[in-house]
Amino acid sequence: MEILTASAGSYPRIGSRPEQQRHRQAYAQWERGEISSEEFERVQDEVTREVIEEQVRAGLDVVTDGQVRWYDLISHFTRKLEGCKIDGLLRFFDTNSYFRQPVVVGEVRWLEPVIKREFLFAKKISSAPVKPVMIGPYTLAKLSINRRGVGLAELAHEFAGAISLEVSELANAGAKLIQIDEPAILKNPNDFQTFEHAIEKIVAEKNGTMLLIHTYFGDAAPLYKKLVKLPVEALGFDFTYSPRLPEVIARLGCEKELGLGLIDGRNTRLESEREVLDVLKKILPNVGSKRVYLSPSCGLGEYLPREIAFKKLQNMIAIAEKAGELI
């Protein structure tokens, strides 16, 4: 088995040093109409390059583009779908960050690739494999205002249709592993069937790529048994909400690749080697797949200052090296 290290999503776009303020300054200038969209785009390209380099420098095996162009995880994707409008700000789960809420007013239809260009750009400049990260159909349906006049299941199904087309495009563009975030299912276990059907729809058209379903901001232990039956190659978990999860995985085992979110993506405290290794010792003997990814519990972009995000990754990689000696 190999233990790789991976990003779980976004990365902070600004830092404390003056030269790391560029994105924020350009954003403000663009909002005031002082620079063109093309110029702002160029700054976003530069910052994307910077955060990819930073992840590689920290030593990550799998990086993301940091989602530096995204307003938030939800509206960035729905903005380009037919049938969706974008409404006001809403708190994202129990965090102190906000997203623009989609309003579904008509049939949801995918018109053109949304993040393919971003992926191709990142792939071209990165020396490490790039993993696209998207929000999943169930969470999208759950967090949207539904004016469509259909039920949640049908809405999730329509979003799944749109996401599957995007996934297929990304697969064609060379994405080997795609992460789909589904945090909302943890707090709504009764909707599991709806969630499962939506994921199955994406799997049917995934075009040879590997899918990782990642959940966070809730306890995954009660749903673990069902999650491991999903027809996807990999599952990611946020261990910070799940004190029982290591024991559940040890008991029930896992044949899929696992994203082990043992690094708290929402706290500045650096994990000790011991606390992470203790969990790995418990889990790894019961995992049957060839590969696991040690990762933060969630994207870091909205929750940590840049300096700390980098330190967290460095610390995680040092721990992963120790873990490699374990096996």
């Binding site: 776009r13 600004i14 909002e31 129990d94 960050s97 906000y98 500045t268 405290r269 972009g301 840049r306």
Partner: protein, 335 residues
């Protein structure tokens, strides 16, 4: 709870009008704060400007005719960071993104949280010294301080929250000792994880208020109330200050199902909108509240702190509150 207020010698009119906490800082004060941070203005000069602006806000509250005053928080930046800077055990982080292009500095708990000495007491005394109307003491609550800080020191969220409660209890005691009869403990984050309300959030509020002889208000906003109501009624305070206009008043329906047992400061104007509500709109909102609450339970105020509005918007919104309240009082046939 009017008996409790009477016991403190506070004879408030029916439907007392008040504000949540913050008022906008005038441009010259914002500029002075930046200069202070850059080391181009000394602390005394900044303090003098803060006092001057506080006097202006007290005068405006007199003129508008509010019944319970606030100091306007001219000396505070962010509601969490302000207390974090003044308690032991905290450090302030680098920039964290909130949304769009907005960033803030988040406190980090790096050691044992302790109360070093009075934080807001001098400002309360200063403000109360300017008026005969009662001035609220306002502190940020332990759950919100915990939820909106990083925690590098305490093993659990519960431990961090209870340590904060212990420290903030000292502040609340000091406010009461200085003479504050009405003390507000802000808990906008309280619905972040509903399961934690019975686990330790209620206990934390008990620790803050226990043994302190004051009329307690808790301000809660941006909430998913449906998940914490009616459980939140167990928080040991006399009055909940809730945002009602921004939530399309759906709390009224919740109260119909399960009667609201405390006093309620009812937010009747939207603090996120530039549009000033007219008296009729505000009056209708008050009358809707009276469908589910007795007049003796009800206070009237804005949804939240007004610091993001302009001075003129703030004053106009407060005027709308006072004139609508007067109309309703008249129809209730009380002075």
């Amino acid at each position: 709870m009017r008996e409790k207020l009477k016991k403190f010698g506070l004879e408030l009119p029916l439907l007392p009008t008040t504000s949540v906490g913050s008022y906008p800082k005038p441009p010259h004060l914002l500029e002075a704060r930046l200069k202070f941070v850059a080391g181009k203005l000394d602390a005394e000069e900044l303090h003098r400007l803060e006092e001057q602006t506080t006097r202006e806000w007290v005068a405006l509250q007199e003129e508008v005719g509010l019944d319970v005053f606030v100091d306007g928080e001219m000396y505070r930046g962010d509601m969490t960071t302000y207390f974090a800077r003044n308690l032991e055990g905290f450090k302030i982080s680098g920039l964290v993104r909130s949304y769009g292009n907005r960033y803030y500095r988040k406190p980090i708990i790096v050691g044992e949280v302790r109360w070093r000495g009075p934080i807001t007491v001098e400002w309360w005394k200063f403000t109360q010294g300017l008026t005969r109307k009662p001035v609220k003491g306002v502190v940020t609550g332990p759950y919100t301080m915990m939820d909106w800080s990083f925690n590098e020191y305490y093993p659990t969220r519960r431990d961090a929250c209870l340590a904060l409660a212990k420290a903030l209890h000292e502040e609340v005691k000091a406010l009461a000792k200085a003479g504050a009869k009405i003390i507000q403990v802000d808990e906008p984050a309280i619905s972040a994880r509903p399961e934690e309300l019975p686990e330790f959030a209620i206990k934390a509020m008990q620790m803050v208020t226990r043994g302190v002889d004051a009329y307690f208000i808790s301000h809660i906003c941006y909430g998913a109330f449906e998940f914490i109501y009616p459980g939140m009624l167990e928080l040991p305070v006399d009055n909940f200050d809730l945002e009602m206009s921004n939530s399309e008043l759906d709390l009224i329906e919740l109260f119909r199902e399960h009667p609201f047992s405390k006093d309620l400061s009812f937010g009747v104007v939207d603090v996120h909108s530039h549009v000033v509500e007219d008296t009729t709109t505000v009056e209708q909102r008050i009358r809707r509240a009276l469908e589910v609450l007795r007049p003796e339970q009800l206070w009237i105020d804005p949804d939240c702190g007004l610091k993001t509005r302009t001075r003129d918007e703030t004053v106009s919104k407060l005027r709308a509150i006072v004139s609508a309240t007067k109309k309703v009082r008249k129809s209730l046939k009380v002075p």
